[in-house]
Every structure is written in structure tokens, then in C-alpha cells.
Symmetry: C2
Subunit: 478 residues, 2 copies
């Protein structure tokens, strides 16, 4: 029932923003801005008695003044005004309301909690479904709904359900820098009417969504959540990050979304049993999404590595091994092949391949990747771009060659069916530097990789941890 | 004895680059380039029979053709030419030679290992001290010695001893983006003559060095290393990262620098007993350096946190707690003070401070930081800039306000004597974005923070782990 309701809510013919504003510092402005900016096709009705127009859109003194029906509304009014607004919206035939409005049960105050229950009762009476309160609502770029500035306008196969609003919009932005695009993202805050289970029910059957992400602080109904999650994981990968694991975190989840966080070990066991994948933080949530989105099935844990120079190779080996991948020695047949080709270092070369050893030996890192791509002993290939060393050891001329190196990696990835991973650092530009051509070469190389759909990770440790979890996931499907 | 020898080597009156080259893709070019670029004051003598000049510098067919004495030489010739070169350099009165030259014992080959021993014997006979072989040598910007492109030309109080060359130059670059500057950095590779203990002996007495960093794959003499390290840690903080902890890593350390890695648990116990601080990877090495360099003594683990929005606050609490810091509740007197000031959310506000709750309540994050700065219950203050959420939730006008926020944090840091930490993400720019003004605002804000000497960390997790280790270090000094 909630699935059909959500499908309707997510495809509104018209949207009202109640408590809209021309004040660019307010969310009443932001939500109007987003509807315009992301290209919502139907009528947009800002509601506020103090403005004749907002962003060039005719603005209505009250909901009742809106001509025709309103399918979906975004509420930016104060908590005390919500019931009145719902009454008026009901007259306009509204199907769903996103309550950006906050200060309900999460305040820990009796009167606010009572008001929240009155809002729920009224919505149930009127047949209005609620997203929120205390949340950012919907990002669904295909239909022009968004909850943030600077988010991608194009879509992809990743869906997300998030109890946190800032977390969700920030996450969409960060993940987009790694090439991830989204079908729909819903931030649901206190989950007063529609809960995490309703959203999960929706996403598990949603044809636009192939991978489901969740950020959850607490669930309302543990049994239903476990059952829904188990059904979901049979259909598509579900990756979950839990907020509120420890003492201070639990205290915070209550004041954030009125969630009771529960015991984390119990939670972890439940997630594992349901067949979902756990992420420790947003960075890992991104890493796992990249691995599921851009890699073929990971069928084993034996990895062939281009480490970079000597020190980085040692570290690469370490970080792969500590994450549970196997950095196997070069197989004898590969050594024989190198010897046959007249490679001087055929007996010395190692896995990880140390580029400072390889230099001038008659074999390149690209040759080694081809050999490892062909050899059945390697399940995964990982190559370090090592741009942070390159910027210090390569002359300007050689540094410019970074881009052709990228092309080689993309070709290799396209040639072999094995999971192929590139390590490319994330480093913050600082002023002075952002005018520097070195940074532009780095940015161009990174962009090319990411646009090609390459699974790109900032460190070996992060890549290896994600690959290991994904390998375990596929091993468990059996 | 090695201390005096190193002091002499590090202050040469003239430098020869043997095997210099005009080929911009070669290291024979790089080392000449660096002497010019970083402003070495004395004569520079490129040596190569095939060029009349390199970078405008007169180039000599052989060492013997150099007029006058040579104090220091950088060897880029092949391994087979090293003994001949040393004979000629001895005639020129050379004190020290940096052997960039590789392919000695690290190849695992008998003949190469024997050649290495012959090189050592000859150097000892001639009274020449060797840095390397198989290494990048010296970065000492004050005297114009460098082993990399794009490294800072200004100096700072951090010294580094590194078995890896690419690791060292890359590290100097990465650390410089966090505001770290170096006194001297020595990459020593196989450590044939001068070993890690000689360098440590030097740095512990070096007045230009207040913090010592080490990247070590294996040590030649465990007892001497423990004793030297113990002496060093009595004088200044020493932070050590060990390469070659596991099986694949150990295999790699041999082919990299011919090091035998040894047992990692034994190593860790030794490092702890000697009073040094262990870093797991280069990122943590940077984080710990930032903490020692930019923070006053960390005297406790009770932290006051500005978390950002709700989700980020939950995560901040979690990551601090999981790293062993204590995210204490708001003390009662502080609540009373907020109530007295007429702050509507005096009873609801929490630590971490959730900015989405604070908005419009009559108290700001900056007010809260002042209160926590004054209150004796807080040992550490941590504030999240949360630029990745801000870029999605703030309108352009509000986003521009990021810079004035930075000024507030710098003022706060200057007002209170407590360790003050700012969380500011590191994210790779991708093409399209680097022309975007949002990235320039972010880059400017980050640069301002870093130039002010703020201890800036990319995530709460990384900040909290570093702070906890540094707090334990100071607690152990007692």
C-alpha cells in the first residue's frame, strides 16, 4: 500500500512550497530554487502571504488561493502551523507532504511530541502520506525534485534512504565526485508516517534502483525491518551505515531524529543475517557503492598489484593483506614468459610490481597488467597512479604523460573481465595550487578515469577493504 | 663521528652530479634541476662526457676535469661505474656521496651484493661517507638541496628519515598541503654505510629539528636502534611508520631496500618501550605530525564538538568515542548560563552541537565554542566546517560566508589555550569543478586555515585517532 502511495508521491503533477521565501538564506527559498533549477515540469506553487512572487513564480497568500489541485507539498512553515496547513492541503487533494518542518519529538519535549502525534492523526484521517518531519525530503533528478544545491542533474542506478538530511545531500555530492549517480534519495528524519521499512519496500521493487544504500539511526519495528531487509537483499545489494553505535552517538540520535539506537552488536548480527553489507562511515559507504556499481562480480581475493615505487609498493602489499586480500607471488609460468621475452629482471620482479625496479628493464607496468589479466591466478587487478609521488619525481614533461597512462588503464579494464581498480588520491587543493597547471593535469586525469566508469579509490587500504567485503558478499550468495 | 660527518655533508661548498643529463625524463636531469631551482649557493658541477652544458651549467666530461674541490656528489651512474667514480671523487676531496644509483643487494643477486660490498670497502678506505645506495638522498631547502619537484622552498621544524625515496618526496608534498614544513629529510635506501641509527643520532641533536619522523622497512642493528631511539624520544617526539608488517610486505621490503622486516609485534613493543609513537600509514604519519606541530600539549581526552548538522553530529560523536576520546554531556553550569541568556534550546542542546538545532535559537556554534573554551570540563575543542554539506545546503550567498567562518575559528583558537582542531574535508577536484567558484571558495578557506597554523584534519576519525595518540604520549611523559 505504501509502495503505491510512494510511487504517486514521487510523480506529482504539481508541487506547492508552503512557507516559501525570497530570503536566499532560508530553506523556503532553497526548495523553490531546486524545483526551478532541476527542471520540475509541472506547476510550482510558492505559498507565502508576504511576497507577490519568488524567483519569478507567482506566489500565493495561502494554500486555498492555489488554482487547481496540489499533488505534493513541501512544508517550510513552523511546527505550530502544520495542522492548519494539512487541513488546507487536504482540500486541494494533496497525496503527500514532505515536512521539512522540525522541532517535534526530537526536542525531547512533551508538548512537541504531542503535536507530532496530532499531525500524524490528522494526516491519517485525511489520507495524506508524510515524509519526515525534520528531514530534507526527496532528491529525484529525473522528475526535477531535489533537496540540495550542486547535485547531479543526471540519474543513475543507486537509491538511498537516509535518516539524516545533511548527510544525504552531502553524501550525494561526495559520491558524485566518484562517479556515482542516483535514481532517488529520500531523507526521512523522524519517520512519523512512512518509515524506513516503507521506503525499503519501495526501493526493493523500484526498477530504477539496482543498489540500495541506507543511513539509519534507529528503526521503529525491528522484526518488520529484518524481514523487509531480507527480502530486499535477495533482489539487490543493500549497504547500510548505522548512526548511533556508542554512548555519545546514541544520545545524539535521539536529539537528532528521536531515534532509540539500540545495541550495536545486535544490529550488526541482524544486518549480516539479512544479507546486507555494513559500512562503518560515509567514506566506506561510497567505496562499497563504487565497488558494486563499477566492478564485475568479485570471484576471489588473489590480487595483482602495481604498487608504484618501492615504498608505496610495500605499503600497497601491506594494506591489501591487512584487509584480507591475498597478494600472491608472481607465478612461475609468468616468470618464464618474462624470461622468454628477454626481461632482465625476470627473477627479481615481484607482486606488487615496483615501478622503480621495472624502469628500463624491458617490461612496463602495462605489460605486467596484461600478463596478470591473462593469468588465471589473479582474481583482481589493482594499479596505483601514485600522483602524489609523480608530482614530486616527474619533470613537467613526464608529468604531462599522466593522461596517456589513464588511457592505458581504461583500455586494460576494457580488455579483461576481471575486477580492475585504480588508486588515485583525493587531496584538497589549497589556494595558489588551484591556479597551478599540475592540479589541472591531476583533475583532468581523475575526471577521465571517473567518466569512464573506472572503480577509483583514494588509497589501497580503502580499495582493499571494500573489495574484500564485496568478495565476501558474492561468496555468500552461492 | 657520523654526526660530524653528516653535518659536513649537509653543508657542502660545491656539489657534483655525476651522470648528469639533459634528458628531462631522467634523474640525471632532475638532480641538476633541483640544485638550480632550490637555489644551491656554491658551484654546481654536472658531469657527463656527452653534453657541453646542462641547464646552462658548464658540464664536465669526467670528475677529474672539475676545477677545484668537490664536497658532495650525487651519483646517477650505473652500479658498475660506482667504484671508478668514487676513486675520482676521492681525488677531488669529496666528503660524502649520495648514491641514487641502484641495483645492488636489493636485486637479491649474488654479484650485485658483492659489488655493493666492494663499494662500501672502497668508501671506507677513502674516507667517503655514503648516503644510500638506491635512494633519493637529501631534501634540505635552506641550503638548496632537494630530491623532488614541487616541494616547499621554505623550512620548518620537522625532520624525516625515510628508507623509501618516492615515499619521502611524496610525503613532503602531501604534508606541505597540511601546513607542515621540514628542516631536512634524508632518504637512505639500502643504508650501506650511514644507517638509520646514524641519521637518528644526527637528528636528535639537530637544532633545526623539533619533531622526527621515520619510515623504516628494517633496521641493521636492533639493539643500537632501540638505544638511539630511546635517547631521541627523551629530547623530541619521534613518530615511526614501519613498512613490511605482513608477509607480502616483508617480501617487498627485501626487493625494495634489501631489508629483513622482522616480526611486527616485536617491533611495536620496542617502539612503545622506546617512547616513540607508531603510525599505521602515511596519512596517520601526517595527522600525528600536524597534532605535534600545531597543537599545545593535549592534557586530557574530554572533547567539545561542533558536529555540523544532525547526521554529521552523530557520526562525529561516534568517531571521537571509537578513538578513545570522551564526548561528555554539556555540563549543568553551561546549561544554566544558556538559560540565563534566554536561549530557547538550553535544555535540548547537546555535545556534539548540532547546527541544524542551533539555527535560530539565539546561540551560535561560535558562542558554544566560547563557552566550551572557558569551561574546565573540556580538554579539546573540535569544530566541523562540513564544507561537503555546506556546498549542498547553502545558497550561493550563504556559501560565500565560509571565509568569515574561518576567521572566527582562527580567533577562537587564538583566544583559548586548549588544543583546537578543525575538520575540513580533502576531496579531489575533477575537471569542470576546478573552474567552479565553489571550489575556489573552499580552496581559499582551507588555505587560510592552514596558513594560520590551524591543526586541520579531513575527518573526525582521523583527528580523534591522532589526538588520542598524542594525549597518550603526553600522559606517558609524566
Amino acid at each position: 500500500m505504501s509502495v503505491q502511495a510512494l510511487e504517486t508521491i514521487l510523480h506529482p503533477r504539481s508541487v506547492a512550497v508552503v512557507g516559501a521565501s525570497a530570503n536566499v538564506y532560508s530553506f523556503g527559498y532553497s526548495f523553490v530554487h531546486h524545483l526551478v533549477e532541476y527542471g520540475f515540469k509541472g506547476p510550482i506553487y510558492p505559498v507565502n502571504p508576504n511576497y507577490p512572487e519568488i524567483m519569478g513564480l507567482k506566489t500565493y497568500p495561502s494554500v486555498r488561493d492555489i488554482p487547481g489541485t496540489v499533488d505534493f507539498a513541501i512544508s517550510c512553515v513552523n511546527a505550530s502551523q502544520v495542522t492548519g496547513m494539512l487541513e488546507e492541503l487536504a482540500e486541494k487533494g494533496v497525496k503527500g507532504v514532505h515536512l521539512y518542518t522540525a522541532r517535534f519529538s526530537e526536542t525531547g519535549r512533551q508538548d512537541a511530541a504531542e503535536l507530532e502525534q496530532a499531525v500524524l492523526k490528522l494526516a491519517l484521517d485525511k489520507g495524506i502520506r508524510l515524509i519526515g518531519p525534520n528531514c530534507m525530503g526527496v532528491y529525484y533528478p529525473r522528475v526535477g525534485l531535489s533537496f540540495g544545491f550542486n547535485l547531479p542533474k543526471d540519474s543513475g542506478p543507486v537509491g538511498m534512504i537516509s535518516q539524516s538530511g545533511g548527510g544525504a545531500s552531502g553524501f550525494v555530492h561526495l559520491a558524485s565526485l566518484r562517479g556515482i549517480r542516483f535514481s532517488k534519495v529520500i531523507s526521512y528524519g523522524n519517520g512519523l508516517d512512512l518509515t524506513e521499512c516503507d521506503y525499503l519496500d519501495y526501493f526493493l521493487q523500484d526498477q530504477e534502483t539496482k543498489i540500495i544504500l541506507m543511513y539509519v539511526e534507529g528503526v521503529k519495528d525491528g522484526r518488520r525491518f529484518f524481514e523487509t531487509l531480507t527480502r530486499a537483499t535477495r533482489l539487490k545489494p543493500v549497504i547500510i551505515m548505522k548512526g548511533g553505535r556508542g554512548q555519545a552517538g546514541s544520545r545524539m540520535t535521539f536529539s537528532h531524529t528521536a531515534s532509540l539506537a539500540g545495541s550495536f552488536p545486535v544490529w550488526e548480527a541482524m544486518v549480516r543475517q539479512a544479507g546486507a553489507v555494513s559500512a562503518d562511515d560515509f567514506d566506506e559507504l561510497i567505496d562499497l557503492t563504487v565497488a558494486f556499481r563499477f566492478l564485475p562480480m568479485v570471484q576471489g581475493k588473489r590480487v595483482g598489484v602495481i604498487g608504484g615505487g618501492g615504498g608505496p609498493s610495500v605499503i600497497a602489499a601491506e594494506e591489501c593483506e591487512e584487509s584480507g586480500l591475498e597478494v600472491i607471488p608472481i607465478p612461475q609460468e609468468m616468470r618464464e614468459e618474462l624470461k622468454k621475452r628477454g626481461v632482465s629482471i625476470w627473477d627479481w620482479i615481484s607482486n606488487p610490481v615496483d615501478l622503480s625496479i621495472v624502469a628500463g628493464s624491458g617490461v612496463t607496468d602495462i605489460d605486467m597488467l596484461h600478463l596478470m589479466g591473462q593469468h588465471p591466478s589473479f582474481d583482481i587487478l589493482m594499479a596505483n597512479i601514485n600522483e602524489w609521488v609523480l608530482i614530486t619525481l616527474a619533470s613537467d614533461e613526464r608529468f604531462q604523460g599522466l593522461n596517456s597512462q589513464i588511457t592505458s588503464h581504461i583500455n586494460l579494464r576494457n580488455t579483461y573481465s576481471k575486477p580492475y581498480v585504480v588508486i588515485f588520491g583525493e587531496r584538497g587543493v589549497i589556494t595558489g595550487d588551484h591556479a597551478d597547471w599540475h592540479w589541472k593535469v591531476i583533475a583532468k586525469a581523475r575526471a577521465e578515469l571517473i567518466r569512464s566508469g573506472m572503480a577509483t579509490f583514494p588509497t589501497f587500504r580503502r580499495a582493499a577493504r571494500a573489495l574484500r567485503k564485496v568478495q565476501e558478499y558474492y561468496a555468500g550468495l552461492g
